[in-house]
């Protein structure tokens, strides 16, 4: 049915079955989106991991299709983001319809001069394929297919796992276990940890179809279209001329009936008219839940991605949050393993990513309530908003067909240093993701290319002698008009003046960027002592 060729990756007999196992610093369970991203983020920092998956292939179905800018920036560090951009569909525009008329057009393009677009649409199986290819080429990653975790025994110094393979069961000991094993997390179940949240009853039908005619690039969302008058429909394009059509079915639909190809075709025929032709790629009827664990770090067991939190699909937040989780976790875990930070640094992973999960849940629940109102007054306000939208610009902004994923804000994190200076006109505050801008005369054309796997200070200076002294463990990026950089610094030319503009940079201004590309601190003119203090705090010594 699918045009995508599912490769089956080879199973290999583990050395543990022949009595040659050794204790591992990190074992990751689950090779979906989060697991391989984490393994690669550890490997670029020199840390080895074992990555286990019960299956031997990529995502069954296209699932997560909207890969956000922040995720692409993360994957770019492993050299695979450009491959995704080339294969995928870059889109920034969206159109919302009421009945059959457009009422609202949006453009997500942040501004010119970013390395990556707001979104690239690419089926999850491609993203996983590129991640797997990269993992398999990486010596520090031991990726094991058809290795299913069936037992977990944590103790104070680590975790013992029981793993089932086609050749039998073995035990694997690890200092740290990261559970990236998805919404039905086996690790969470085995440890009997609760996953509280809210269940939604509305049903949706996903029909991914391959189309031969010319396709729209923008996202389209209909409320009450004539081809599906009772509910909403989403249309979105993916690679290989595949379209995602998502029909809201309501609570009472019979999923077995709806899934039948003839019934899916009947809906599609009404939508696309008598002349269109298509082939089916993947269909699924789904409902969804919003859930979150109380704690993402439980001793030596850490949860990330869908295993730790799930949201509705509106807003493309599941997969992108999974990637952001492990981007946040990787550098902290590396420091804890190296002994350069206390284990308490991992508490900030829990608090920051729980705050992010809250924000994602709130956004996704609001979208859900708009798309599927839960009580009559809610529906009345929704319909009034839609009715006013064509005429009144303010109402268009209230139309919520999914607020699409942007990096979450993690305000007040204990490892960030709050603003001391008060004269900021612009620029990301501590707790916000850094913003990209074009630069010249460095390794690449964009600021994100110059933020390394460790801490980076972006400093604006009239001349190199004005730069602050860098503490150990911090790389410097100098945005200056002239002059050769001192040692430890990279000089960047602010080609279009956009770095200055986006960071409100004046001579002396400096931003401390964390390894996950979030701002840890910023100053108008820091001295060496302030820099060192912010770095101590950001690394869990504060």
């Amino acid at each position: 049915m699918s045009s995508y060729q599912y490769r089956h990756y080879p199973y290999r007999r583990p050395t543990e079955l022949d009595g040659k196992g050794k204790r591992r610093p990190v074992v990751i369970v689950g090779a979906g989106l989060a697991g391989p991203t984490l393994a690669l983020a550890l490997a670029v920092r020199g840390v080895a991991s074992v990555l286990l998956d019960e299956d031997d292939t990529v995502s069954n179905g296209s699932r997560s299709i909207c890969q956000a800018k922040h995720s692409l920036e993360t994957w770019d560090r492993f050299g695979i983001a450009q491959r995704m951009v080339d294969k995928g569909i870059t889109w920034e525009q969206g159109e919302v319809y009421l009945h059959d008329k457009p009422i609202y057009h949006f453009n997500l393009a942040p501004e010119p001069g970013h390395k990556f677009p707001a979104f690239v649409n690419l089926q999850q199986y491609y993203v996983e394929e590129y991640l797997f290819d990269r993992c398999l080429a990486e010596k520090l990653i031991d990726l094991r297919f058809r290795h299913k975790v069936v037992g977990v025994r944590p103790d104070s110094g680590g975790v013992s796992l029981d793993v089932e393979t086609p050749d039998g069961r073995y035990t694997l000991d690890a200092d740290w276990l990261v559970a990236c094993d998805g919404v039905r997390s086996a690790v969470r179940h085995l440890l009997d940890l609760p996953f509280p949240g809210e269940v939604f009853h509305d049903q949706f039908l996903i029909a991914d179809i391959r189309f031969t005619s010319e396709l729209p690039k923008e996202r389209r969302f209909w409320f009450y279209p004539s081809f599906h008058p009772t509910n909403s429909v989403l249309l979105h394009r993916q690679a290989d001329n595949v379209l995602r059509v998502d029909f809201q079915l309501g609570r009472d639909a019979d999923p077995e009936e709806e899934k039948k190809p003839e019934n899916v075709d009947r809906r599609l025929r009404q939508m696309f008219g008598p002349d269109a032709t298509w082939e089916h790629e993947w269909s699924s009827v789904y409902t969804f839940t919003c859930r979150m664990m109380e704690r993402f770090v439980q001793g030596r067991v850490i949860f990330a991605g869908d295993a730790a939190h799930v949201v509705s699909p509106f807003g493309a937040r599941g997969g992108n949050a999974a990637v952001a989780d492990v981007d946040n976790l990787a550098w902290k875990l590396v420091r804890v393993l190296a002994g350069t930070s206390p284990a308490s640094l991992l508490e900030s992973y829990c608090s920051e990513r729980r705050a992010a999960a809250h924000e994602n849940t709130l956004n996704s629940t609001r979208s859900t309530d708009f798309i599927t109102p839960k009580f009559p007054a809610s529906r009345a306000f929704r319909d009034a908003t839609l009715a006013l939208a064509r005429e009144f610009p303010f109402a268009r902004s209230l139309v919520n067909s999914g607020r699409l994923s942007v990096p979450t804000v993690q305000p007040g994190s204990s490892i960030d240093t709050p603003d001391g200076d008060t004269d900021w006109l612009r620029g990301p505050t501590p707790g916000m993701a850094m913003v990209d801008a074009p630069v010249a005369n460095g390794r690449g054309g964009f600021l994100v290319d110059h933020v390394g796997p460790d801490f980076t200070l972006i400093a604006f200076a009239a001349r190199p002698v004005d730069l602050p002294e860098l503490p150990a463990g911090m790389a410097g990026v100098m945005v200056a008009r002239e002059g050769a950089p001192p040692s430890g610094w990279t000089a960047l030319l602010d080609r279009d003046g956009l770095v200055r503009q986006r960071y409100d940079g004046r001579a002396g201004t400096a931003y401390l960027i964390r390894p996950d590309r979030y701002v840890a601190a910023r100053w108008r003119r820091p001295d060496a002592r302030e820099l060192a203090a912010a770095l101590r705090r950001a690394t869990g010594h504060g």
Binding site: A377, A380, F381, D383, A384
Partner: protein, 76 residues
């Protein structure tokens, strides 16, 4: 202007011709059934809320409007 003693929401008269405005609102509902009233009021509230703009005022109004549910008493 806010009422200094109580908060952001104005409690004293702000309408030059109060009876006219009141009756205009009533008249606008006269030919509507209950469902239509609900739709109409939803649109009206959204338009006015956007015009007011101040989230504190709207928040206080949302709390104060509950008084209309039980004849003006705060209990219940």
């Amino acid at each position: 202007m806010a009422d200094a003693a109580t908060g952001a929401l104005r409690r004293t008269l702000n309408l030059r011709r109060p009876d006219e405005v009141y009756n205009a609102i009533i008249d606008a509902h006269r030919d509507l059934n209950d469902d239509q009233c609900r739709a109409f009021d939803a649109g009206l509230i959204l338009l006015l809320a956007n015009h007011v703009g101040d989230a504190d005022v709207i928040g206080e109004a949302l709390a104060a409007a509950r008084l209309s549910l039980n004849g003006g008493s705060r209990a219940g």
